[in-house]
Structures are given as C-alpha cells and as structure tokens.
C-alpha cells in the first residue's frame, strides 16, 4: 500500500512538472516578443552555445557519414547498387540521423551547461538579486538562452549534416574512384522538399526543447549546491526524452504529407 502511495505521489509530481514546464514555455513566448530586448545577451549566448558544441558536433557529423557509408557499402555492393549509397546516405542523414543525433549531443552539451549555470545562479541568489533590482531575469537569462538554442541547434545540425555528406564522400573515395561532382549530384538530386523542410522545422523544436528544459531545471533549482548537479543532469535526461518523443511525433505528421 505504501509503495502504491509513493508511486502515486511520484506520478503527481511528474504531472506537476509537466504543467510547470508548459507554463514556463508559454512564459517564454510571452516575454520573448516584448521590449526591452536583451539582444546583446542573445548573441553572447548564441556564440557560447555554438562554440561549446562545435568540436563534438564536427567530429560526430564527419564520423557519422563516414561510418554509415562504410556500413552501407558491403550490403549494397552485393546487389551492385553502390551508386545508391550517396542518395541513401543523404536522405537518411538529412531526414533523421543528423537531426536526432546532433540534437541529443546538444542536449548533453547545452542542456547540462544551461541547467548548471542557471542552477548555480539560483542557488547563490544571483537570480533573486536580478529580480530585486527590477531587471527581469527571465528575459535576460532564459529568453536569451532559449532563443540562442532555437537558432543555434538547427544551424549546428545543417553544419553537421554537411560534414556527414563529406564523411560519406571520404569513405567512398578511399575505396573507389568517385568524383566530387558525381557524388554531389547523386547525393543531392534525390533530396526533395519533403526531405528538407519538415526535418528543418523539427530541429527548431529540438532547439527550443533543449533551451527551455535546461532553463526550467536551472531556474527552478532548489536550495543547496547538490541540486545544481541534479538540475544539470535532469535537464539532459528530460530534454533527450522529449526530443525522441517529438521526433516520433514529427515523423508521424510529416508522413501525412
């Protein structure tokens, strides 16, 4: 009976968190379009977020394309369909693998950074200090970071997708003699509107998720320094989970068209 009750209260807590997170998201949209804007801070956060994730995203992007091409080669080679590799690669990278893998990496990198930074600001009363000096910390801290993530994550994904295509080329070049123009035309000719636009749209949603969950966890961090680590950690867990769920929904929706 006791364990039932504790499970029940844990469930209530989850539902409460979901509600709070929704309210927090609405607050972002309410505040993001009201002046005074913290433009300088948005650029600063954008720069920081991109810079922090760039090395890992670059390596992942390149290796992703490389390994994928190498994996595809033996199977497709058996059917004499090696010429399909570039198009298969580009479709799978642009539609699915690029967005999801890079978003999960960004969730790890950015989500934990935002959660930890805002969490420690909360614990050391820096957020309260901003509030007391009538500065609107939500706008300065949260709107700037979320906006930076909304713009930054899609850009990183496009960048990583391109590197993956390059990685695929390197893999093929090592084993056969394919020219760049041929590779590019094979890779990009198959890409249609339906491969690019829906997946681009969902990357904005992923960016938003990373920014808002990290900010939410940090901003609502409880007292005590150990909660800063918890905020960072749970930001990564929750945003990764939400990204995967959103991806599933996005795939369902885009398959309707």
């Amino acid at each position: 009976m006791n364990s039932f009750n504790s499970a029940k209260s844990a469930l209530y807590k989850k539902i409460e968190t979901a509600g709070d997170l929704m309210a927090f998201s609405f607050r972002y949209f309410r505040e993001a379009f009201k002046p005074p804007f913290e433009i300088k801070e948005i650029f600063k956060q954008f720069y920081i977020l991109i810079l922090k994730s760039l090395p890992l995203v670059s390596i992942t992007g390149l290796i992703l394309g490389l390994t994928l091409a190498l994996q595809l080669k033996p199977t497709l080679g058996k059917f004499g369909a090696e010429s399909l590799i570039p198009s298969l690669l580009s479709v799978s990278i642009f539609r699915e693998i690029g967005p999801i893998i890079i978003s999960l990496i960004c969730a790890g990198k950015m989500g934990s950074a935002i959660g930890a930074e805002l969490g420690s600001m909360k614990v050391t009363e820096q957020i309260a200090a901003m509030e007391v000096s009538a500065v609107r910390p939500f706008r300065y801290l949260v709107v700037s970071r979320v906006t930076a993530a909304i713009i930054g994550v899609p850009l990183l994904i496009i960048y990583a997708d391109s590197l993956s295509i390059l990685g695929g080329f390197i893999a093929l070049k090592l084993q056969s003699d394919i020219s760049i123009p041929l590779y590019i035309s094979l890779a990009f000719d198959v890409l249609g509107f339906g491969d690019i636009v829906p997946s681009l749209l969902k990357t904005f949603a992923f960016g938003f998720t990373i920014g808002i969950v990290g900010s939410y966890k940090g901003y609502n961090c409880s007292r005590g320094t150990e909660s800063v680590g918890m905020a960072a950690n749970s930001a990564v867990v929750l945003s990764s989970l939400l990204i995967i769920l959103l991806d599933m929904i996005a795939v369902q929706i885009s398959s309707l068209f």
Partner: protein, 251 residues
C-alpha cells in the same frame, strides 16, 4: 513634502511556513520614513525570510506586506517593477553575478534603469566602489575577490541605484572589525544623506550601536520586543540580553 511619521514598511500578521515548519508565526512592525530598524535573532529564526517577504521574493502564507502604502502583492507587473527599483537589497552572500566583472556587476542594473552617458556611468561606478573602499577591484572577477570584498561590492551595487528603501542582510558579517565599522558608518551616512528607510539584520553589536534607530528582537517566529535601542538594552529577558553580552564574552 512627506510627513515625518509616514510608515514606509508595514508588516501585518505575516506568517510563513516551509514544508510545515512555521518559520514566521506572526510578524508585526511599522517602519517610518528615514528610520533604520535593526532585526536581531538567533541563526535560523527567519530574519532573512522577513527581508525576503518585504521585497516580495517570498510570499507570506498569511498577512500583509505594505510598502509605500500599498500591499506589494496586489501590485500589477509595472507597479511591482517600480517598487523594486525603489528598493535595494543586500544579500547575505553578496550575490554577485559570477559571469561579470565587478564593473559590469555595478553597471548591470544601472544601464537598464537610467539613461546615462558613458562618462556618467563610469563616474557613478567608481564613486560607488570608492565608498566601500574597493575601487582597486573594479576590473576583477567575483571569483578573484574575498568573501568580505564580495559583500562590500554587493553593497556598492545596491547603493548605486539610490533606492529609497534599503534592506541589509548581515552587512558586516565576515568582515574585520575596522572594515565592519566603516561599513556601519557608511550605512548610517547613506541613511542620513538620502533619508533612506532601512532594515538591517545583523549580529554585530557595534553595527547595531552605529545604525539602529529601533531594534526588533525575533524569537520563535514573532518579534518579542520592538523598541528604542536604550530600552531594548535594558531588558531583563535572558534571550534579549544574550545578544548584548555576547560582544564582551567573545574575547
């Protein structure tokens, strides 16, 4: 012209509990314009909570917080921001913005509230830091300065906005006696010059002697005494007495 006796901060039956622990049970006090009220109380009795209720960082479970004649929890967003602009708060920890240099810490609220030229900005930041004796730390990062310095920089950052109300949470704790005295005199000076209404939470008896117009003693969630310093000091209550003998016993 405002009346001398105008009450600026009024707390009425303020109660606040955290997870079923009643920290504040029934807090009542009127603080007049230009007056400095000192709050004494053992560690953990809720002194910081009182200050946070006055500035609206915490909402009491029951009771009213009236500042400048209005219930602060009845204000709309713009009025609330106006109220916050007129109120300064020195956090117990200093609460410096770690990602900004000392100069940026002071500029941060200033550039958002006033339309100052670059030179005016520079001048005000320098003057404010000079008041707390830390002009030399202007280009340091918060991580590079000591705990006592952080607190003084926090004080400079609070004073720079020239608020009408100042709430100090242990302004001299962690400072050496000479610096403590300087800070206490600064608090007094600012109050006299600008006719500021203030609440000081402190354990430092010298600070009490320098700054207090009135003393309120907090015990188990209520003010057991609110009165003039000379009257409170004469009290026979052992709890109240314990604050005043502590200075002699320390050495």
């Amino acid at each position: 012209m405002q009346k001398e006796t105008e009450n600026i901060i009024v707390l009425k039956n303020v109660c606040k509990a955290f997870a079923s622990v009643e920290v504040l049970k029934n807090i009542n006090i009127d603080i007049k314009k230009g007056e400095t009220a000192v709050v004494l109380g053992k560690s953990g009795t809720g002194k910081s909570v009182i200050l946070q209720c006055i500035v609206g960082l915490l909402k009491p479970d029951r009771g009213e917080v009236n500042v400048f004649g209005k219930n602060i929890f009845g204000l709309n967003e713009d009025e609330f921001l106006e109220f916050r602009k007129k109120t300064g708060f020195l956090f117990q920890s200093g609460a410096l913005y770690d990602s900004m240099s000392v100069r940026e810490n002071l500029e941060f609220p200033l550039i958002r509230h006033f339309n100052l030229s670059k030179s005016e900005l520079k001048e005000r930041v320098a003057k404010s830091l000079d008041e707390v004796g830390l002009l030399s730390a202007i280009d340091k990062m918060p991580s590079e300065v000591s705990g006592g310095m952080r607190k003084r920089i926090g004080l400079a950052r609070t004073l720079i906005l020239a608020p009408e109300i100042l709430l100090y949470d242990e302004p001299t704790t962690g400072l050496d006696p000479a610096t403590s005295r300087d800070i206490s005199h600064l608090i007094r000076k600012v109050q006299k010059e600008r006719n500021i209404t203030s609440v000081v939470v402190t354990h430092d008896m010298e600070c009490v002697d320098i700054t207090a117009d009135r003393i309120a003693v907090l015990k188990s969630g209520e003010f057991v005494t609110v009165g003039l310093p000379e009257d409170v000091k004469k009290s026979e209550d052992p709890y109240i007495k314990s604050f005043f003998i502590q200075t002699n016993e320390k050495y």
